[in-house]
């Protein structure tokens, strides 16, 4: 083991330079008009198409310590919020170059650290006055509107309400085999009917009601105002606020940031879950019970939302599916592998046990076939037709099951297994020897997933099938993309939309989007800067916490410079966003427009009031995502609160962490490599 040690130069801080250049590669991902990037692996000539910060960093070879820290920070934000990573990446770049400029002006390190971190803190508190409450927006399924656009119509037909309904009806009156044809309204504008509606009549009535949207039927019910939090004291009444959300749909669209089609799917999911929830009593948008099924190569028109679980299976399993459709099935949920050798986690196989046999004819392979026979016996005796398995399944067992018309689906994620467990009220098993009456669920249905004209399809030799159960909340978003290489992007965009809505509902508040929040930060920092210039504080200000006393003394000297650096991060962010929306030809023009608004905000009685006023007018600065063609249909843009503020904080934390780092200590068997490398002079070996 050796240890190498590298010092980082003060004036041209290597770490910050690395950070700034790494982060600059994500600049074009900001804003609604994104430029895609191709990442080409020279050794394999494979390439990846991407437009997200996470995927970009994932595919890069980041061996430097700083690169790794950047990747870890982005991944942590992704794991926690699934949104805000591009903002994070951009601000890391902007702030690290701003800090480098501070270093050029000889600002003490510690001062940069404390002024910037307290400045950000102050801004995060300030922007709370822009928060818009959404807590009274969510009044049950009636507040979720139905959209009548051609694409969503298409998806609703395709959405499996019909087969689902048929299944449920069959379950209730199993003798009535005429039902299916009765409730198959081909080409009709139906919504997914409420699962669990047991009579044909009721579902029929429901359908006629549903052909007219509730959106038009009961307009009075869904006027939910979006109120402004902490703005001008306690709310005096909805009339005092210029912001009104007519419905949930507007919120969703405002959070779509240009991905309307993905957000429409998310809305459909919310409605699907709400309809099930109406019957079972639980409520809200549960993102844990959402899964995706990707169909690369199909037209985007096929994207839709279906209750239950949609997955692709091999043609052999499709044959079994054909046998099993149209009747209630018994299901078994296995949270391990279905192989003879599989043992649960934590089971250590003893190495020193030897089995001896007196019967010479017995062969090695027989133990597996014994096991398969045993497993098959259990499945047949428990009358199980459908097995969902988390892990691998033994090939020969799979074949035997297919012969016996038992459908095994694997691999299935844990949240799907639990959704089925919850819906059917059964326990998951690890081994088939555990199977008893508590483990076998009933009232499960399989069918082929059907497109709009109710035809089944085959895709790359795989067939999509759907599995449903009574009372299950699980919803699958079927995603398709004509360009296969865009599949990953489509899926990422869907999840981003889903999480944005999820965060808005859990936070119960949103920010006005399109740069309003950043603009307020800029105006707030300008005010702080002016204050510190006007009244050089005699005593240490309480806001800025200094550990060393002379630094507190010299705070006035450097504070404006550092605050300016902090502001420059958001300034760059704003002008980049505006530029990427293509309203302005150059960053210079964009920047001039920002200055113009800042000046106006400063002249206004309160900057936040000015910003909200402008937001409402949707001035050009407030980035218009160019979604609508007709002005009356224009959608406002909203942002998430916690993910955004957290992205700022994480970005600044990373920059300050790297700033405060003065040495790299490398331990490991790489001495010779380091000695021979061109940077060997930078290292000290102990």
């Amino acid at each position: 083991m050796i240890m190498a040690f590298r010092n980082m130069n003060r004036r041209c801080h290597i770490g910050l330079q690395q950070l700034s250049s790494l982060a600059s590669i994500g600049r074009t991902f900001l804003g609604p008009v994104k430029s895609y990037k191709f990442i080409v692996d020279e050794s394999t000539s494979e390439s990846i198409l991407t437009c997200s910060a996470v995927r970009l960093l994932e595919s890069l070879d980041l061996t430097s310590a700083v690169g790794q820290l950047l990747n870890e920070t982005i991944q942590a934000q992704n794991k926690e919020y699934k949104t805000g990573m591009t903002t994070l990446l951009f601000l890391v770049g902007a702030w690290s170059s701003a800090v480098l400029e501070c270093l050029q002006q000889n600002v003490p390190f510690s001062l940069i650290v404390s002024v910037m971190s307290e400045g950000l803190n102050s801004c995060s508190e300030k922007v709370q006055c822009l928060q818009l409450s959404v807590h009274n927006l969510y009044k049950g399924p009636n507040s979720v509107p139905i959209h009548f656009t051609s694409s969503s119509l298409h998806s609703h037909q395709a959405s499996p309400c019909d087969p689902h309904n048929r299944c449920l009806n069959l379950h209730v009156c199993p003798t009535d085999y005429i039902t299916p044809s009765l409730v198959e309204p081909v080409g009709n504008k139906t919504m997914p009917a409420v699962p669990g509606s047991s009579l044909i009549a009721s579902s029929y009535i429901k359908r006629t009601r549903l052909t007219h949207s509730r959106y038009f039927n009961t307009p009075g019910k869904k006027h939910c105002s979006l109120q402004v939090d902490n703005f001008g004291g306690p709310p005096t009444g909805p009339a005092a606020y210029p912001y009104e959300f007519n419905d949930f749909g507007q919120l969703a669209m405002a959070l779509s940031h240009g991905n309307q089609s993905s957000m429409k799917l998310v809305q459909d999911i919310v409605r699907c879950q709400q309809e099930v929830a109406d019957h079972t009593g639980s409520s809200q948008f549960n993102i844990a019970e959402v899964v995706t099924c990707c169909l690369p190569g199909l037209s985007e028109h096929y994207s839709c939302v279906c209750p239950g679980y949609i997955t692709l299976v091999s043609p052999e399993k499709a044959t079994v599916t054909k046998q099993l459709q149209d009747r209630p099935l018994q299901i078994l949920l296995v949270d391990g592998d279905l192989t003879e050798k599989y043992r649960h986690l934590g089971f250590n196989r003893p190495s020193n046990v030897r089995t001896i046999s007196e019967n010479v004819g017995l062969q090695e392979s027989s133990s597996e076939s014994l096991w398969i026979n045993c497993v098959l016996d259990i499945l047949i005796q428990a009358k199980v037709n459908l097995v969902l398995v988390k892990g691998n399944v033994c090939e020969s067992l799979m074949e035997r099951c297919i012969l016996n018309n038992i459908l095994i689906i694997n691999p299935v994620t844990l949240n799907v297994l639990h959704a089925f467990g919850k819906g059917t009220g059964v326990q998951l098993v690890t081994y088939l020897s555990q199977v008893n009456s508590y483990c076998v669920g009933s009232s499960v249905w399989v069918d082929f997933w059907r497109t709009g004209d109710l035809s089944t399809m085959e895709l790359d030799n795989k067939v999509p099938i759907s599995i449903k159960a009574e009372g299950i909340h699980l919803v699958t978003a079927v995603l398709s993309s004509t360009v296969s290489s865009k599949m990953q992007i489509t899926e990422d965009q869907f999840w981003t939309c889903a999480y944005r809505l999820h965060h808005a509902l859990t936070d119960q508040k949103v920010f006005p989007g399109g740069g309003a929040v950043e603009l307020l930060c800029l105006s707030h920092l300008k005010k702080l800067e002016e204050q510190s210039l006007k009244q050089p504080d005699k005593k240490p200000s309480e806001d800025f916490y200094m550990s060393s006393c002379w630094l507190t003394k010299s705070l006035t000297q450097y504070k404006p410079v550092v605050l300016k650096a902090l502001a420059s991060g958001w300034h760059q962010y704003l002008s980049r966003v505006i530029c990427n929306t293509a309203h302005y030809a150059s960053e210079f023009e964009a920047s001039a427009s920002i200055e113009h608004h800042l000046k106006k905000a400063a002249d206004y009685c309160s900057p936040s009031a000015y910003i909200l006023k402008e937001f409402n007018k949707r001035d050009k600065l407030m980035v218009d995502f160019g979604l609508s063609t007709k002005p009356e249909e224009a959608v406002k843009i909203y942002d998430n609160v916690t993910p955004k503020v957290e992205a700022w904080r994480r970005a600044l934390d990373l920059v300050l962490l790297v700033l405060q780092t003065d040495a790299e200590i490398i331990t490991g068997p790489k001495r010779n490599q380091l000695l021979n490398s061109h940077v060997s002079s930078e290292f000290i070996f102990l």
């Binding site: 083991m1 240890m3 040690f5 980041l62 061996t63 310590a65 790794q68 820290l69 870890e72 920070t73 942590a76 794991k79 926690e80 001062l111 650290v113 307290e118 803190n121 043992r343 649960h344 934590g346 089971f347 250590n348 196989r349 003893p350 020193n352 046990v353 030897r354 089995t355 001896i356 046999s357 017995l362 467990g421 919850k422 081994y431 555990q434 240490p540 916490y545 060393s548 006393c549 002379w550 630094l551 003394k553 010299s554 957290e646 994480r650 300050l656 962490l657 405060q660 780092t661 003065d662 040495a663 790299e664 200590i665 490398i666 331990t667 490991g668 790489k670 380091l674 000290i684 102990l686």
Partner: protein, 572 residues
């Protein structure tokens, strides 16, 4: 056939410290520890250079643990510092810096090692006697009736670890939590033998620091799906749940099979035999009305299923660190056998609840007597969380040491400068009889004492990382920092603001001077009757016990290193 290779002769180096390589390595090591010291200390990235985990830290325990040092002289140094850290958690960097400075300064005066050792031992005893006497001017007594001093102590520890990435509000919030958690571990009734409870740190990574909180009792992380289906609990009475705690694996494997080979006849399955045994155990647990089974390791899925069907809640894989608090809290004896479980081993709980917290789910074990608490510690990423956990553990340990000896030393460099002026003053007024007793001349004594004081002052100066200048006052001997490059004719009191520990401000004329300049020795005054000790909110305080030990370890280790005359290395 084995190849025989001639043994290499051992390598013997004399006067190792005079070798350039050693002094260079020593200066690099000293540079590393010095640059990490204090709240504005610089951070170090520790990694293996091959894409492994990057640990950014400025804490001595992480730093020294990550350094791989080859030279024996340096190994002596790091080993004794690490030993100090394992006993006291705090003041590791102080010890390391002081030791390095002492070696550097003592080497410079170039006396015989034994003379230096003798004199420095005497100086050390002067220091420790002074620190332990009532007259000590740089310590404050800790009043457990008010939380102010305790909070200052905790806050000083957290604030001196910049890689935790805490802002002021977060540091205050966490200091309160750490203190609250500590107070929950103190027994309500004091008997002759006081045993403190345990504070268990529950990791929640990826969340905001402000989400951290303290719960009395124990929280155990459970997956969401289990959370939804846990209840009702089987109770013995309305306020008692019987609990069994297992410290062996219940996974159904044959882990304790021993050496040698076991031969089994075909058709006999050991696994089935073990599982039968497990299910019998399950039957007994159900008959004994146990409501909760906790296992350190894995429980077999079949046993879990059986117990669940009988309304017994199971928690497995709690880990070894949870065992002691669990056993202490519930009174259960950890069971290490799968057969003949004695009912006396069972413990009891007052209640069992579920808590949902920052999108995580926990089973909350509420004991009858809460001496165990859980500190849910949140931080935004893995690395900052690791750093924060270490800092919180240090703070908890320091509080435990402080309850034993309710004293604290002034932090922010004031103790070091104060002690240096005390020693300077003492060495000038030392009676000749003492000099005779340690067999050295006054000049020798004063030279060594000066090197000793300079080393102490050097530690204080390491708190400054932004090119500031350090002053000291000629009344209390405290530490003051000013911006460098000030005009020579300026008024000192315009430059200074507060001393390092925060007791004094610039209001009185305290006769400042540049720290490392020559000045007439004076007897520093005590701060103990200073009213601001109780009024100032933000005092910087250090752990008394840890710092005293650090001082001792540093001096002893420096003497040992200076005394090295030969290094014999086995080259095979």
């Amino acid at each position: 056939m084995s190849r025989i290779e001639a043994k290499k002769p051992s390598l013997c180096t004399n006067d190792p410290l005079t070798k350039e390589r050693v002094s260079f390595s020593l200066s690099v090591l000293s540079g590393i520890v010095k640059s990490c010291y204090g709240p504005t200390g610089r951070l170090k990235q520790l990694h293996n250079g091959m894409g492994g985990y990057v640990r950014t830290t400025s804490q001595s325990s992480a730093l020294l643990g990550g350094l791989s040092i080859t030279h024996p002289a340096l190994k002596v140094l790091t080993a004794s510092v690490q030993n100090h850290i394992s006993r006291f958690s705090d003041c590791g960097l102080f010890t390391a810096i002081l030791c390095c400075s002492l070696v550097e300064h003592f080497q410079r005066i170039n006396f015989a090692a034994c003379t230096v050792t003798k004199i420095s031992r005497h100086l050390l005893s002067l220091c420790t006697d002074y620190l332990k006497s009532e007259a000590c001017g740089c310590r404050v007594s800790v009043d457990f009736d008010s939380i102010k001093t305790l909070l200052s102590l905790v806050r000083s520890i957290l604030a001196s670890k910049p890689a935790c990435m805490l802002n002021k509000t977060e540091a205050n919030h966490l200091s309160t939590l750490v203190l609250k958690a500590f107070l929950l571990t103190i027994p309500h009734t004091i008997e002759t033998n006081v045993v403190l409870g345990k504070c268990v740190i529950i990791p929640v990574k990826g969340k905001r620091v402000m989400d951290s909180t303290v719960f009395p009792g124990l929280l155990i992380d459970i997956p969401e799906f289990q959370f939804a289906r846990t209840f009702p609990v089987k109770r013995v009475s309305s306020s008692a749940i019987k609990m069994a705690l297992f410290c062996i694996s219940m996974s159904g494997d044959l882990s304790n099979i021993g050496e040698g080979t076991v031969i089994v006849h075909h058709g006999i399955s050991l696994e089935v035999a073990v599982l039968d045994q497990l299910l019998n155990l399950g039957k007994q647990l159900v008959n004994d009305q146990v409501g909760l089974v906790v296992c350190q390791k894995v429980i077999h899925p079949s046993l879990k299923q059986y117990l669940k069907e009988h309304c017994v809640i199971t928690i497995d894989r709690v880990g070894v660190s949870m065992m002691e608090p669990l056993s202490q809290m519930t009174g259960s004896q950890p069971i290490a056998a799968l057969h003949s479980v004695s009912p006396t081993c069972y413990g009891s709980l007052k209640d069992l609840r579920t808590e949902s917290f920052v999108s995580k789910h926990f089973l909350h074990l509420v004991p009858n007597d809460t001496l165990v608490c859980s500190l849910i510690l949140c931080n935004r990423n893995e690395m900052a969380w690791d750093e924060l956990k270490l800092a919180c553990q240090t703070a908890e340990h320091v509080l435990q040491l402080t309850i034993k000896q309710p004293l604290a030393l002034l932090g922010g460099g004031c103790t070091e400068t104060h002690l240096a002026s005390y020693i300077r003053h003492k060495s000038f007024t030392l009676p000749t009889s003492v000099l005779k007793a340690i067999d050295c001349s006054r000049t020798q004594y004063q030279l060594v004492a000066d090197a000793f004081c300079r080393s102490l002052e050097c530690v204080a100066c390491c708190l400054e990382h932004d090119d500031g200048e350090i002053l000291t006052d000629m009344v209390y001997g405290h530490f003051w920092s000013v911006q460098s490059g000030f005009p020579s004719d300026c008024n000192w009191s315009d430059l200074v603001l507060k001393c390092g520990c925060g007791i004094y401000n610039n209001q009185r004329n305290l006769n400042w001077t540049v720290l490392r300049s020559q000045y007439i020795p004076f007897a520093p005054q005590s701060c103990s009757n200073e009213p601001s000790i109780n009024s100032t909110d933000h005092l910087v305080l250090d752990c008394f016990t840890a710092k005293c030990s650090g001082l001792q370890v540093a001096v002893e280790t420096a003497n040992l290193i200076l005394d090295l005359s030969y290094i014999v290395e086995d080259q095979n």
